[in-house]
């Protein structure tokens, strides 16, 4: 079953678990399954249009999913899905 790697800032949602295994066939349904198990994830990962948030990078076996099929990417048995916060410098909103 595919496995999520949860970054530090989101481990509060996963009861401190670094990895969470889910049953799913594509990335979108994997995120749904993660949400089922630990509510709150979906909101952190997806925006209102249901797309990956700007500041969230998701890697499927170390490949940036945005370079491939995005949320439609197929996931299977041994796949690892890493959630990694993007690194932005930003600017104050003053």
């Amino acid at each position: 079953m595919p496995q999520f790697r949860i970054p530090g800032p989101l481990r509060r949602l996963s009861d401190g678990q670094m990895t969470v295994t889910v049953e799913a066939t594509d990335l979108g349904s994997a995120i749904d399954a993660l949400e089922q198990r630990y509510p709150g994830f979906k909101d952190r990962l997806l925006d209102q249009q249901g797309e990956l948030r700007q500041f969230v990078n998701v890697y499927l076996n170390d490949e940036d999913v945005r370079l491939g099929a995005g949320l439609a990417a197929k996931v299977s048995e041994k796949d690892e899905i890493s959630i990694v916060p993007a690194v932005a410098g930003g600017e104050p909103a003053n």
Partner: protein
């Protein structure tokens, strides 16, 4: 005076204590350093700055180190701002200026951000400094770690330009050459953060690091006689420095250091071979920056997934700037043009900046009297391998060591 108040999320406003962290736990938004502006307003003045050292540390009040923090410095910043009359004449610009940041201690603008980052890290007890780099950052991190006597780990793509590898390795850091491109190096380092007690300059201590970029703009405007230019051309990799340049202008206005309050147009430069920000700028959705796989000689700025891309486009649009991109041939042509007209040898990233400047000028963007500044951020020796061998140079002849041979071969 304790001028640093904490960190604040750019997106949702959540506040955090000053610490080595770069993302908001609530929304993953980026964190920024918050200063006590009221206190700073009382002390900051042109005179106080002008009496400071001839380095970027003359702007210490506006940087995230407290007054009693010893800084790690090699004399970075306060690089020359030169009026470029000969290049300007070729491009129809009568008030063109170049900020030559290749004159920094390790020959790129990264010395500014690293000097701040390592000063902060050392003062907060870090013993190891690290970074994910396209070359210039690793060069600066290795040099400043050596200067500070701190342990150093730099992560670079395995196929970096040979000159960069040499100028990193001489400082004897731990070099981790990753079989992948910069974006993969960066992803790996972001994952490593959790299992190392290290200060990654451009990741967990990024809020402090980013602040150092402001000094490039502070100095430029001081060197223009405390006047704001009409437009600034800035190369974009992650977009980090671009964003800080607008912040720098806001601070100059806020603290009354300039009288004018018209923010200059901020224009971004990318290589077409790695142009995720430019692609989005040209599209209907400039705030949706989609990653690309880089393929360009402008390796220093080859970031396919630029974290600050959306802010770059927002700021370019708000200030009346644009984001433009140039081909590989235009990059090399611009490196040669700058060298031939102004005597400045810049690397490929500088070729991108000057290439975009030339492209926009030739397309008629300016009337001719505007004050335009281009940031030349790295030295040509870093990427000397991209220039064709000297044998390809049209004005070269080879002669015998005789007067006869000279007269035969050279027209004077």
């Amino acid at each position: 005076m304790a001028k640093l108040l904490g960190l604040r999320c750019r997106e949702c406003g959540a506040e955090y204590e000053l610490q080595a962290t770069h993302v908001c736990e609530m929304c993953f938004g980026p964190l920024d350093v918050v200063y006590d502006q009221a206190a700073l307003r009382k002390v900051v003045s042109r005179q106080r700055i002008e009496q400071g050292p001839a380095s970027m540390w003359r702007y210490r009040d506006l940087l995230p180190v407290e007054d009693d923090t010893p800084v790690v410095t090699l004399g970075e910043g306060f690089t020359p701002l030169v009026k470029a009359d000969r290049l300007g004449a070729e491009l129809g610009l009568r008030n063109l200026y170049l900020k030559n940041d290749s004159m920094n201690p390790t020959n790129s603008f990264k010395d500014r951000v690293v000097s701040v980052a390592i000063s902060w890290a050392r003062a907060h007890g870090f013993e190891t400094i690290a970074c994910a780099s396209t070359g210039n950052l690793a060069n600066a991190v290795a040099a400043y770690s050596a200067r500070a006597g701190l342990e150093c780990f730099v992560f670079i793509p395995v196929d970096l330009e040979p000159a960069k590898v040499v100028s990193i390795s001489v400082f004897d850091p731990n070099v981790v050459a990753v079989r992948g491109n910069y974006d993969e190096v960066n992803r790996l380092c972001s994952q490593l953060l959790e299992s190392t007690p290290w200060a990654f300059c451009n990741i967990n201590i990024r809020p402090f690091y980013a602040e150092g970029s402001k000094t490039l703009t502070f100095e430029t405007i001081e060197q223009l006689g405390w006047k704001l230019p009409d437009e600034i051309i800035i190369p974009i990799a992650s977009g980090c420095q671009f964003v800080r340049h607008r912040q720098a202008i806001r601070e100059l206005i806020d603290y009354g250091l300039v009288r004018d309050d018209r923010v200059p147009a901020l224009t971004g430069a990318q290589a077409l071979g790695c142009a995720p920000v430019y692609n989005a700028f040209k599209s209907d959705t400039p705030e949706r920056v989609l990653p690309v796989k880089p393929n360009t000689i402008a390796r220093s700025i080859a970031i396919g997934n630029p974290s600050d891309g959306i802010y770059v486009n927002r700021i370019a649009l708000e200030t009346g700037g644009v984001v433009e991109a140039v081909t590989e041939d235009e990059i090399v042509a611009a490196m040669r043009l700058l060298a031939r007209t102004e005597g400045i040898f810049t690397e490929t990233a500088g070729g991108v900046t000057i290439g975009v400047l030339a492209k926009l000028a030739r397309a008629g963007r300016w009337k001719g009297d505007e004050v335009v500044v281009a940031y030349v951020t790295g030295h040509g020796l870093k990427t000397a391998d991209v220039l064709a061998s000297v044998d390809g140079h049209a004005r070269r002849v080879e002669i015998e060591p005789t007067l006869k041979s000279f007269r035969e071969k050279v027209n004077i």
